[in-house]
């Protein structure tokens, strides 16, 4: 996008927001939270150093959204924007040369699901925002970190996920669930989350990349600075993929805002449109 287009985009956003003022009393959408590093102007200093817990570990606590620069979505002067959406939401392997290494079975599944317009997507039916797909969905995630437990809250269906840092082993014969069973340990400043026990019927992305109960998922979280988190997602699932693979996504810290629930079953109407 050209510099002038960017200028117009910024100007339009500013004008439009001025025309649509958000009340200071509307939830806490613009509440300046304490503890956020700020510049002299009072704006969040997103380039500030990684915050740390009292024991010196990186602190991932806070709200996060897929790092999707707005400029990627301004296609014309006037900046008529689409929903911000991580490209990995459609295809988790979009940055991998050759894409995900599907087995014949899983490629067949993905191709059929894709050809079917996603009408079988569990997400359409308001199923839980399963990780690792949940990182790429366009709702906010809140991380609450303690020395022995990390809790991830997701706006979609007001869902939660627990990650234990208390030294417990992964279960040996887990009952499969939407988020599976997660433990974590530190590798320097990177938090390494190991997960097993996820369900066979989950999708990794909109196009329907499968994942099975045999999967072992490893997420390596690194808080690069105050405003940015990098997550390497590694999947070892011999039933669905010919070899282990990994992709790296980025999450952007969101401050001075609040979680807003999105309960999908409240008024789901799109399933009917697929008939």
């Amino acid at each position: 996008m050209s510099t002038s287009s960017r200028w117009w985009c910024g100007a339009l956003v500013a004008i439009a927001l001025a025309a649509n003022p958000v009340s200071a009393l509307a939830q806490w959408l613009d509440y300046k939270a304490p503890g956020v590093p700020r510049t002299a102007s009072g704006a969040p200093d997103l380039g500030a150093p990684t915050p740390r817990t009292p024991d010196g570990k990186p602190d991932f606590s806070g709200m996060w959204f897929a790092n999707v620069p707005a400029k990627d979505y301004c296609k014309e002067a006037g900046c008529i924007q689409e929903e911000r959406m991580a490209r990995e939401q459609i295809n988790l392997g979009i940055k991998l040369e050759g894409g995900l290494p599907y087995t014949d079975w899983s490629r067949e599944q993905m191709v059929a699901r894709r050809a079917n317009g996603g009408r079988e997507d569990p997400h359409t039916y308001c199923k839980p925002p399963n990780f690792p797909r949940a990182w790429t969905l366009p709702q906010y995630i809140k991380i609450v970190q303690t020395p022995s437990l990390m809790v991830l809250l997701h706006e979609f269906n007001a869902a939660y996920r627990e990650v234990f840092l208390d030294g417990r082993p992964l279960p040996e014969d887990p009952n499969p669930t939407w988020n599976g069973y997660s433990t974590a340990h530190w590798d320097g400043d990177t938090l390494v989350i190991e997960t097993n026990g996820i369900r066979d019927d989950m999708w990794l992305d909109i196009q329907g990349s499968p994942v099975t109960e045999s999967a072992r998922v490893t997420e390596r979280l690194t808080r690069v600075n105050y405003g940015l988190m990098s997550i390497e997602i590694a999947v070892d699932d011999p039933k669905a993929y010919t070899r282990p693979w990994s992709v790296t996504i980025e999450m952007a810290a969101q401050v001075d805002t609040t979680m807003l629930e999105e309960i999908c079953l409240d008024d789901e109407q799109d399933v009917e449109l697929f008939r």
């Binding site: 997103l46 707005a70 317009g117 405003g227 940015l228 449109l273």
Partner: protein, 139 residues
């Protein structure tokens, strides 16, 4: 909504729109995104529910009959982050709504732009999400 502000926008020849929306919940293949519908009518209800807000608009068809259109919007949490409130549009408001139609339902569409009865654009498609600073050493 500050109507005077919106008129000011039109004076400089700009047009704001909601933008293609609603990918939060599904693939959108139930809509024909290459097609376009535009209707002019009267708001009967702004439904403030998840996973999608909905704008119901009564429209007179060629025969003079009133037809109720159902326009899909983003979820309320997304709308609120774009500056909407649950009463941003009220029953009786005159609107012109543009959208992509559902493939198999003649009066359902996903909204892409909403204007008032005079053609003045309302709202934007922008979610003001914070973007992190570049990592040191990167362009």
């Amino acid at each position: 909504m500050n109507r005077r502000g919106v008129r000011g926008l039109l004076l400089v020849g700009l047009s704001l729109a909601v933008g293609t929306v609603a990918r939060a919940h599904h693939s959108q293949s139930e809509f024909d995104l290459d097609a376009k519908v535009e209707v002019q009518g009267t708001v009967t209800k702004l439904e403030w529910k998840s996973p999608h807000g909905r704008l119901y608009v009564d429209v007179k068809n060629d025969k003079g009959e009133t037809v109720s259109w159902n326009f899909e919007l983003p979820s309320p949490n997304t709308l609120m982050r774009r500056g909407w409130k649950r009463d941003s549009l009220k029953a009786g408001d005159a609107v012109i709504v543009t959208g992509a139609p559902a493939r198999n339902f003649p009066t359902i569409a996903i909204a892409t732009a909403i204007k008032d009865g005079n053609g003045n654009a309302l709202f934007t498609g922008t979610t003001p999400v914070l973007e992190p600073a570049p990592i040191q050493g990167e362009p």
